[in-house]
Amino acid sequence: MAAWPEPVRPGIIIWIKRILRSHRCHRVFPGTILALLVLICAGWTKSWTSIQAAAEKIESIQADFVQEKHLPFLVKPLESTGRFYFKRPGSVRWEYVSPLKSILVSHQGNTRRLVEENGAWIEDVGVKMAGMQVVMTQISQWMSGRFTDSTDFDARIADDGKVVLTPGNKALSRMIRRIELTLSDRPGVVDSVKVIEGDDAYTVWAFKNIQTNKPFKPTLFTVVP
């Protein structure tokens, strides 16, 4: 399966060849290099083996994110923003800064969430609920490129290069219809996650300012306010 839709990829190659033959090549040289890099990097989404190989080179990720919740009856989408941290093998810190400050930390199988209210941090027991546990388990697998390891979801690579996860059991399919992960041009990196719950009911997490293999404070996943 290809990372780019087949009709698109040859078009880009022809376009690059034309530019290289062009007498204006020197003017567009940086752009050409970038386009070539995109094509080379896009190869990492071809198969599970290449996806996992690319992900294995990533020890840690940190990024800002915007979360948008869409429901058919909502006047406008619900938007939240925050910062996401991941460290191999399975440490996650999911921090919201608006509209409600909260920190969700998952480390060595222990998941906690604290929510800030009027300057005080309150432990949230709701994080132990079924839906959240499923999500936390999945995130570590996605970030490690181990999409096929999940016992809860069946994974496939779609023609458009997205990874599509479909619930493998009835209980989960009542909550989530499917999950689509858009892989980045940067090997081993996920650009966005879309969790589809039903017709016009979905949540999108779009990541930006993504940094890989940048050292963290050692206490990031263990110390919460």
Binding site: Q67, K69, L71, F73, L74, V75, K76, L78, S80, W94, Y96, P99, L100, S102, R113, V115, E117, I122, E123, D124, V125, G126, M129, A130, G131, M132, V135, R174, M175, I176, V195, E197, G198, A201, T203
Partner: protein, 226 residues
């Protein structure tokens, strides 16, 4: 036994009693000349509210996002509870007292819990039916009483004036015990040509041995169906 030991025992006894519904005798209301706006806490048009909700049971707290869509003409309120990460846990509608669950995942899939949530949301957002009895209580509150003592009474305490804009709703069971109490904060904004005060925060307290508290913080309020 030292006096401190007695104090600790007394505190434990008092603590044990906090779960018992408060008995507030419904004394006859003192007649007043002014007519309070008994529907003042309730939207008269279609609105959609988005809140963060903190649910407290004992010392434990859970947080949710909540979307409440009110349609007073249809006597309908739709309540959608989501995790902070956006997953829908509960989506249900109460129309003319009839609950309809659209989606519910554990633990919200228990019918009694679904009905309980919808009844609470209906108490806060839908005006009680029937003409109220109005008057002044012994404590000086001007109140509106809906319903009959045999079936339970809903008492609405509208905002006193522009300076004290908070309102309250109390629900009594057939024995005159307060089973639900809604108290708003004083900050918020006026809408609908200053006929509807939307508080920034309010708290619903459910009394009894399985009591809980729901703290609502309003993130957005939007008039719909225009």
């Amino acid at each position: 036994m030292s006096r401190f030991s007695w104090l600790i025992i007394c505190l434990f006894c008092l603590g044990g009693c906090t779960g018992i519904p408060r008995m507030v005798p419904l004394y006859p209301l003192e007649t007043i000349l002014e007519k309070p706006d008994c529907r003042q806490p309730f939207a008269k048009n279609q609105w959609q509210f988005v809140h963060t909700i903190r649910m407290e049971t004992g010392r434990k707290a859970s947080f949710f996002s909540g979307v409440i869509t009110v349609d007073p003409a249809a006597e309908s309120v739709r309540c959608t509870l989501l995790t902070l990460e956006g997953l829908v846990l509960f989506d249900a509608r109460l129309t003319r007292g009839k609950p309809e669950v659209i989606k519910a995942v554990p633990p919200f899939d228990r019918p009694a819990l679904a009905t309980g949530i919808l009844t609470d949301v209906g108490l806060i957002f839908l005006s009680p039916a029937g003409p109220p009895e109005t008057g002044r209580t012994g404590s000086g509150d001007i109140v509106c009483r809906f319903g009959a003592p045999q079936q339970g009474i809903v008492e609405v305490v509208p905002a006193r004036d522009r300076s004290d804009r908070s309102w309250q709703i109390r629900k009594y069971d057939e024995n005159g015990r307060v089973v639900r109490e809604v108290v708003t904060g004083t900050s918020g904004r006026w809408e609908g040509a200053e006929t509807l005060f939307i508080p920034d925060t309010f708290t619903l307290t459910a009394t009894g041995s399985r009591g809980y508290r729901l703290h609502f913080r309003c993130l957005s309020s939007t008039r719909i169906g225009l």
